[in-house]
Amino acid sequence: MPTTYHDPCNYGRRAEQMFGRGFFDEPRWILSQCVENWVELYPTAQRQICCGGGGGALTSGYNDERIHYGRRKMDQIRAAGARMIVVPCHSCHGQLNNLKSQYDFEDLTVKYLWELVADCMVV
């Protein structure tokens, strides 16, 4: 399945901004252990587009605005040709799952990074 990765704002850009160190490489290394030939979104890493579900947006009640916010995220995933998006964030996961039904993208699989690891383990 064509797979891609989404950088949550707080683990990436904002962590870099606030603490001088963003987590961009580590999740990509983990993803590469599980999936061959996954593709990057464009833009990516520091310039990644927010999913629109952060900062409490999933629970603020401003749902129309939140869904509108996510339009660029959906376009970006489509443009990458991906059918699975891997995320290491509860808010992004919730938002992406919600967006896919709003933007006619039901065949998109939204996967936690740790879920992918658990799926790939041979025990």
Binding site: R13, Q17, I49, T59, S60, Y62, E65, A118, V123
Partner: protein, 237 residues
């Protein structure tokens, strides 16, 4: 919530430039270049764009910025801050504005969830017995899968290597998602634990600009680490 009518006349005598200088967000040094507005995914919604909010904050227009829904539509994603030539901390400024709202007027369930957490230890108000029941129930399901025979969830294990917090949705509507980390811990032979009280990993005081309650939530996690004599914390929320 009031929409801001940017076409209305503003009483210039009511302005108070530099009023929020002690926020350490540097909004007073905005050069009005609008790079932030170009970067923002919600510029245009409800007439919002970050430059306007920055300027209004710099001019001390407290009532307008506090009543606007703009600070709540922003996700504090930091796209704006990333480009700002003056290094203005726009997400932090947004959070400060949120904090000025009357707590009863905080939108959605954000403050209600936080209040429930103040009372009960978690946003759901879930009692300890129910929490333990859910975890043990899910653990039994894991133990039925090949390779995970005998799996148990080590609740309140003193001296474990790792304490993990729990996102409230995982003991509410998404219990299946508890299993992934548990399976990884099992396969890795990790000596881990979860606290039966104050296990909540989300901290809605961060979202609502409520420093006081945010600290309470953080302190509680530290307390559990001390109580259980655990040195490492995994806090994936």
């Amino acid at each position: 919530m009031t929409d801001i009518d940017t076409h209305q006349t503003t009483d210039l005598n009511g302005l108070d430039p530099g009023r929020f200088r002690d926020w350490s967000c540097d909004q007073d040094f905005c050069v009005t270049c609008a790079l932030c507005s170009s970067a923002c995914p919600v510029s245009g919604i409800d007439d919002f764009d970050p430059r306007k909010l920055v300027r209004m904050t710099a001019l001390g227009m407290e009532d307008e910025i506090v009543e606007a829904r703009w600070p709540w539509i922003c996700t504090m994603c930091g796209k704006c801050e990333n480009l700002c030539p003056m290094d203005i901390h726009i997400p932090a400024m947004v959070r400060r504005i949120r904090g000025l709202r009357d707590r009863d007027a905080v939108p959605g369930i954000l403050h209600k969830g936080l209040e429930a957490a103040m009372q009960s230890g978690n946003n759901l108000g879930l009692p300890r017995e129910d929490f333990v029941f859910i975890l043990e129930d899910v653990a039994e399901e894991v133990a039925e899968e090949p390779g995970f025979e005998g799996f148990k969830v080590p609740i309140d294990k003193k001296g474990a290597n790792l304490l993990t917090t729990i996102h409230n949705k995982l003991v509410n509507t998404h219990t299946e998602d508890l299993k992934h980390w548990w399976k990884i811990f099992h396969a890795a032979g990790e000596d881990w634990t979860v606290s039966s009280v104050n296990w909540e990993g989300t901290n809605w005081g961060y979202f609502t600009g409520d420093d006081e309650r945010m600290k309470v939530m953080v302190d509680r996690i530290v307390e559990q680490m001390e109580r259980l004599e655990v040195k490492n914390l995994m806090w994936p929320e």
